[in-house]
Symmetry: C2
């Protein structure tokens, strides 16, 4: 993600700081951040550092980076922080000086129990920060920045929505290749390699761990969840399920589609498969219809979950939807059930300008049916950024 986008995100952050009554945000306090990168780096920092470094954003708009002298050139070149203070021996000295100068009452630090994507400082660096501030008036001022950072990830600028749309468009192009890629005997991992290659050729990177992006399932014996495509070879009577994300210019898509491979004797899928597709479609629609600013995410999950239960399927083990942005699971408000695993995220309200991937899946005797689409929350509800799959697609080998 280029510095110009990071810089615009920091302008946006200043608004959130003021709304929250935060005087200073320690966006990052890290070291060796190429070896230990965090999602805040590409959102609010703009480069990696080697020695302990603090990136500060004040409610006044002042942006100060305090970095080891060996990192100064690199941080200046990134051009996101106007003020770059180099130190040789001890980050504590210039950090305390800048703190005194800003003299904040509330200082937000990028950590969160609830929101993984807003949890970007190590425990050791948090303890180091406390040690540096011990004996200053700022020691007791530290609060989690999860609200600010969660909003900053969630409320997309127009440039961010455009990039997500570019990634979605490229993903649809790859799905368009599927009828020609689905050949008798092709294995899951061969198809996955082919899709990865076609994505790379178009300038797209994987949106998550490439070992299971795409997830490819042929038939009922295939792996479940985040598992690597395997050696199952394609044959008639199988469902083909793909979960594919691409990252384009730093922003992600996340889509699922399902095909059925007709047997020579068949003109449509077995009734069980057709009913399962219909149930997934109904669940997706029920969840989508619920989406609008102000609702807590669990209400959309509940509608989608209940629709599936009413159709006679087992309860889903997963959340109905998650945010999408620089990462495929972009944190913050979640369209998920109120389970401890999801913390307080299902309670967080949706807002205009957020982007979610919504998804639903059920197993059948022919394999899993899974659908996933990407949506933008609008003033009045939500709109699809992708073109939803409304009918099971059929393939003959």
């Amino acid at each position: 993600v280029e510095s110009s986008v990071v810089s615009r995100k920091l302008d946006q952050a200043v608004g959130f700081l003021r709304e929250a009554g935060i005087d200073l945000w320690i966006a990052q306090f890290a070291r060796e951040s190429y070896e230990q990168p965090t999602p805040v780096d590409t959102l609010a920092v703009g480069c990696s550092v080697t020695w302990p470094a603090a990136f500060l954003v004040a409610a006044s708009g002042r942006r100060t980076a305090i970095v080891g002298t060996g990192d100064v050139a690199n941080v200046r070149a990134a051009g996101v922080y106007d003020e770059v203070v180099g130190y040789v021996q001890d980050v504590a000295v210039p950090l305390r000086e800048v703190m005194s100068d800003v003299n904040p009452t509330r200082v937000a630090v990028s950590y969160s129990v609830a929101d993984d994507m807003a949890d970007n400082i190590t425990h050791g660096m948090f303890l180091m920060l406390q040690g540096i501030l011990a004996g200053t008036p700022y020691f007791d001022c530290l609060v989690p920045a999860e609200g600010i950072l969660g909003k900053l990830r969630a409320y997309k600028l127009p440039v961010e929505v455009r990039r997500i749309q570019d990634a979605i468009e490229m993903t649809h192009q790859l799905f368009g290749l599927m009828p020609q890629l689905l050949r008798e005997g092709v294995t899951e991992s061969e198809l996955a390699d082919r899709l990865r290659g076609e994505g790379r050729a178009r300038g797209g990177a994987p949106a998550w761990d490439p070992r299971y992006d795409p997830i490819v399932n042929f038939g009922p014996g295939s792996g479940f969840g985040h598992s690597e495509p395997g050696t199952v070879a394609l044959a008639p009577g199988m469902l083909v399920h793909i979960d594919l994300g691409l990252k384009v210019e730093g922003y992600c898509s996340d889509l699922q589609r399902t095909w059925y491979v007709l047997r020579p004797s068949e003109s449509e899928a077995p009734l069980e498969v057709q009913e399962a597709f219909a149930a997934v479609r109904v669940s997706m629609d029920a969840g989508f219809e619920t989406l609008r600013p102000g609702i807590p995410g669990w209400t959309a999950d509940r509608q989608a979950r209940d629709a599936l239960l009413r159709a006679g399927y087992a309860e889903s083990e997963f959340a109905f939807g998650h945010q999408l942005g620089q990462t495929a699971h972009d944190g913050g408000a979640l369209l998920g059930p109120p389970w401890p695993r999801y913390g307080t995220r299902p309670e967080m309200p949706l807002g205009e300008g957020m982007v979610f991937a919504i998804e639903q899946a059920v197993p059948t005797e022919a394999g899993p049916i899974g659908l996933e689409d990407d949506v933008l929350i609008t003033a009045g509800g939500a709109e699809y950024l992708s073109q939803p799959q409304t009918a099971l697609e059929y393939v003959r080998l």
Copy 2:
């Protein structure tokens, strides 16, 4: 790094646990670890996870992974943890169960203020862990795992030393290309691209952020420290300084070399440049001679630093040496001055089987002179894994 190597590192870790009187090591407690990877992942985990996951290593040798059901296939496939417990709603329940079963008195968690490479849990996840253990006998048992994790990174298995040697060998091959790559007018960034390409072609990856691996400096006007190669074009009378690291099968090299581009009228470098090279060489030798098991790292830095000061050069702003392994700055015992920036690492003693990169540099009117070599600490002292540069190399364009 393949699972077989990770598995051998966990066998090694059990020895360190017993030595330290630790009953259980929570090697990792993380979520979305593809988006937020930490150096412990390739050392002691073996794969990434999406939902909150705990990777436990007991002093008995028992290895248990507690992961969301969607991650189970992936963790089983990695094959490092024999016991994989899947959960749907709440990681706390199986985690408390396994803790009760092991019933530890001292539980090490992978965080550290002093050692960046041993600081691998976020502050939010540490707070979540405390929340899970609140009300159990284990709440007060948490101690930092920095000693165990520092040793585990530092004490290399033979397979690890061999891989570092492979990376060093490939780096020497690239240095061997330099006389033919150094042509009139080539720019720093063109040379950097060429070296990166030659490394890739041989199966090597960058050992650190590829924006400044290699660092390339032509002449005195070039950037300092971790800065990107620029637009300076090569001309006679310039020093050429390269800091290059390669990662081969998960392990790194880190070497610096210096060339001088003779002017048509010159048969050797200006006296100032020759003297500076000699001073850097003397400093390197002084530091190297000091190396042996048992000494704290700062003593080697002191010898190297003093040798440079005695030769009349300004004091170095950097540590004389750092560990090398899966990362180019591999944490733990550091050959550095006792500055706050380095925490307690300069006090940590060296041990047989550790690998260090040692380095020294000075600026001259023709550009920077920098040397860096990789050494293994042996029972009686240290031996070079690379072939040190003993004389300034000359190039004619």
